[in-house]
């Protein structure tokens, strides 16, 4: 094989490798089985299964909290006593966390991170489309 052909072959292999590396972005999914255990594929991303329910609950929870007459549902001081609003916020937190997960899984194994974020207003901002 001549030198020019070797260079050409190296260029072809390099181009293919670069293309493959560029196209294999992490965190994307085309199949449910692309996602780690506990996650599901939605809109090309691995998210926690509760994310969809959480987003629905977010809307419902927001309405419910206002309907319940909770004075400061979005404030940082004291969350409302409505348990549904808590659940919706926690699920949305999990969804926001899960969106950062890649194929390798989350540091917390994709589970709803049980950090003590009880702010019902922040998740609403993070998950609003």
């Amino acid at each position: 094989m001549s030198t020019s052909r070797r260079i050409l072959a190296l260029l072809v292999v390099g181009t293919l490798a670069a293309l493959a590396a560029h196209c294999s972005a992490g965190g994307e999914c085309l199949r449910y089985s692309d996602c780690a255990d506990g996650l599901t594929c939605t809109d090309g991303r691995c998210v926690a299964p509760a994310a969809e329910a959480g987003e629905e609950a977010e809307t419902d929870g927001g309405d419910a909290s206002s309907a319940d007459g909770a004075p400061d549902a979005g404030s940082d001081s004291e969350p409302t006593a409505d348990a549904a609003t808590h659940d919706g916020g926690a699920s949305t937190d999990a969804a926001a966390d899960a969106r950062d997960c890649t194929d390798g899984g989350c540091p917390g194994d994709g589970s709803a991170s049980a950090d003590a974020r009880t702010d019902a207003g922040a998740p609403a901002d993070a998950s609003s489309d």
Partner: protein, 168 residues
């Protein structure tokens, strides 16, 4: 003369019937074994292209000596990385010339979740010995059914496969 005509016709039919099984017995089934590995690019839905799963294919092919250009292929599929899965395919293939084979068929991934679709490929057979060949060529797969497929997504894969084939 007219009465002997039906008898001669019946005799001709009997002789024809006796002759047919002899032709059928002359048919021989030709078997081949294949193995290969493939990978490539995939896409679908809202996602851009990415590298698809590397897949092993182990199977065989069946021909009849009277029409060796028509080939029935079957294989077991194993996706090995980055995620695993197992399934199979069934294809009709046809020799085009001395070295090329075109094929089309149906395939499915059955484990851990189901995925069904169609496939088509072109294979070049490079003879190593009289009964063995190195095979390589492109393949296109389209998956549109199964529990592993999100809603409104059709998964396509463009693969390059390389392998080995032996006449049994």
């Amino acid at each position: 003369m007219s009465r002997s005509c039906p008898w001669s016709l019946a005799l001709a039919c009997v002789l024809l019937l006796l002759a047919l099984p002899r032709e059928a017995r002359a048919q021989q089934y030709l078997l081949g074994a294949t193995g290969g590995v493939s990978s490539g690019m995939e896409g679908g839905g809202q996602e851009s292209m990415r590298r698809t799963r590397t897949r092993l294919r182990l199977g065989g092919d069946l021909r009849i000596d009277e029409s060796p250009e028509d080939i029935f292929e079957f294989a077991m599929l194993a996706e090995i990385e980055p995620q695993s899965g197992f399934g199979g395919d069934i294809r009709y293939a046809r020799m085009v010339g001395e070295h090329f084979v075109v094929d089309a068929g149906v395939m499915g991934i059955l484990v851990p979740s189901s995925l069904y679709g169609v496939c088509a490929g072109l294979t070049y057979r490079l003879s190593i010995t009289k009964s063995s060949q190195v095979t390589f060529g492109p393949e296109a797969d389209f998956f549109f059914l199964g529990t592993d497929l999100p809603d409104n997504v059709m998964l396509w894969q463009m693969r390059f496969q390389a392998g080995f084939r032996v006449d049994l």
